[in-house]
Amino acid sequence: MNLTGAEIVVRALIEQGCRTVFGYPGGQVIHIYDALYEYQDELRHVLTAHEQGAAHAADGYARATGKPGVVIATSGPGATNLVTGIATAFLDSVPMVAITGNVMNAQIGTDSFQEIDITGITLPITKHNYFVGAVEDLADTIREAFRLAISGRPGPVLVDVPKDIQIARCDYAPQPPAIPAPPQAAKEVRIRDAAACINAAHRPFIYFGGGLASSGAQEELLALAEKIDAPIGCSMMGVSCIPTGHPRFLGMQGMHGHYACSTAMHRSDCIIALGARFNDRVTGDRTKFAKGAKIIHIDVDGSELSKNVPASHGMRGDLKLTLQKLVDYVEPARHPEWRQTIALYQSEEERNRDNRPGLTPRNAMQVLNRHLREDTPVATDVGQHQMWAAQTLCFRKPRRFLSSGGLGTMGFGMGAAIGAQMATGEHAVLVTGDGSFGMNLNELATAVTEGVPLVILLLNNGVLGMVRQWQTLFFDKHYSNTVLARQTDFVKLAEAFGAKAERADTLEVLDAALSRAFQYQGPYLIDCAIGQDEFVLPMLPPGGSMDDMITKVGG
């Protein structure tokens, strides 16, 4: 059938299985929005308050499902407002397709109104991007964008569609949704070598990241852990990939990771790293990181092998397929001494646990735990609250903890929570802080308009707590620009947006407020005041190693 480019954009999105898009209209996408009007029964468009919110919503949609999230923005500022959202998705390997409008081909390169070189701008933060020069290429370009976004290591892809291409007509015939490039196991001989290395180990440790959920290799990982008697830890991106309560799981590793987990990894003689990249927040000082360990590293992205930490056995391949073979090749083993050592680390962690009564961040998270169902998606923003949530919340299903790991984007949570709610149909939760919430709270408007059932737990300490923590510890308490002397009344603010809200100043009130919030079919904010000098512990000082871990501050 003969369609305009704008119709082809919308038809191609539908053809690719997309049913919800997030976006914001403008002059250079007005034709696409006209097509969205025409096809509104088949493709739901969610209007956000700001393009950044739309990008984070598409990201949250993708994180919660594994399917590519789609965002549409106009040229110029619309496109540049996507940049933080695209970069967030890129750093956390989240599949996303961003469609931007641009000025007519004839005007490209003339600095015309709202013209921007968005393919140039997003070059380093996309897997790939496209400028569509002819309407005949449009449908295939969008298909290719979807294929790339979900192939290998997922990530964002941008398609820039000039206005004349949206107006031009050509023939269009629907095609089936793109299939990702077929996953492949690592080379057999490498897997066998790695298995020999694991068989020789006395203190094996399995460390996984976000790649585990992307590959869907949870079962294989647990089978390996069982067979070789290894404890399991994860990077922050791995949180929720396997059940928090699994007996082998020591929790999150790294700068603010669980003591037993970080210590076990550091003392291991064989680290099996799966879909993780040994980020500096994970290793601390790399020259001192796990010196006694051989590192077996499996990743679908070959460039991650030996990029940050030299791998003795680096294998490029799909986790699931590679682990299936590795589990066969390793010998069953038992490591009673290693288990005992780990039990000691765990009791040390227990001793240092913050057991203060009252409305402490940890207790607030524990109360929230009582309200989480196994399908509840929990998004966070970035800062102390994010770490408390990652450390304390309990998950039973993968893709239920949504947090900006690589880029560390404050303001990520509102959009992400909205996207995750729409993707799953579940009552969603946002754990945020007053600093992060202040960045993109405009998306409350979206949540109200769309009637998004969303519990917003705002840990309000009146400071930029994470930076303040560093200033306390390393900058002689020079609280430079981290005290928010704002007079914002978050309850009134939420109400002004049309949301419900209340204040919680004790654990009991918080518990009751959460019950009310989960009953309400719309956004419900709980303003929960916490102390400004709460710390995220343990903490690896910047540039320090696991031996320098701070587990207690003051008395």
Binding site: T119, G120, L123, P124, K127, H128, F131, L148, Q184, D301, G302, S303, L305, S306, K307, P310
Partner: protein, 169 residues
């Protein structure tokens, strides 16, 4: 220990591909010694040849990062053992009666050809491997060099194998 590496990259012949490749080098701070781009036997592909000095892990990282670019079709690491490599030099020297004879002698030794000759200047052309071109330039520093331009290396594998036999998975 730093070693000099030559990597040939077959890329899709599309607008902006060179920018994608060099942008990756820039943001990951790969220090490139020289880079050439040219047409190939097929209008669908261009060929980029990159030379750089570094450690083996750096080279591996560069190759792995290149493979992640969707426009990269194939990569071949080339060295003196498995490939022939040449570079072209144009060098403009002051035409001085006192040095003219010495320049001519050196030019003969390097099989340099005189491609421009005026009262005040001589332009020589040398085709050789990069090391030999370095040596020739070094020799010419004894005289007055007015201008230098060199192409960067082009390199082809010896024998019947071609870069298109290695494909990007």
């Amino acid at each position: 220990m730093d070693k000099r590496y030559t990597v040939a990259v077959l890329v899709r012949n599309q607008f902006g591909v060179l920018n994608r490749v060099t942008s990756m080098f820039r943001r990951r701070q790969f220090n490139i010694d020289n880079l050439t781009v040219s047409e190939t036997e097929s209008p669908d592909y261009s060929r980029i040849t990159v030379q750089f000095a570094g450690e083996r892990v750096t080279k591996q990282q560069l190759v792995d990062q290149l493979y992640k670019l969707p426009d990269v079709c194939s990569i071949r690491e080339l060295d003196n053992e498995n490939a022939v490599s040449f570079e072209l030099l144009l060098i403009k020297l002051k035409n001085d009666p006192a040095s003219r004879g010495d320049i001519r002698a050196a030019a003969d030794a390097f099989e340099a050809k005189t491609v421009d000759y005026t009262r005040d200047s001589i332009v020589l052309r040398v085709t050789a491997d990069s090391r030999r071109i370095d040596d020739f330039i070094d020799l010419m520093r004894d005289y007055e060099i007015l201008e230098i331009c060199r192409t960067g290396v082009v390199s082809l594998e010896r024998g019947a194998d071609t870069i298109r036999k290695v494909t990007n998975l």
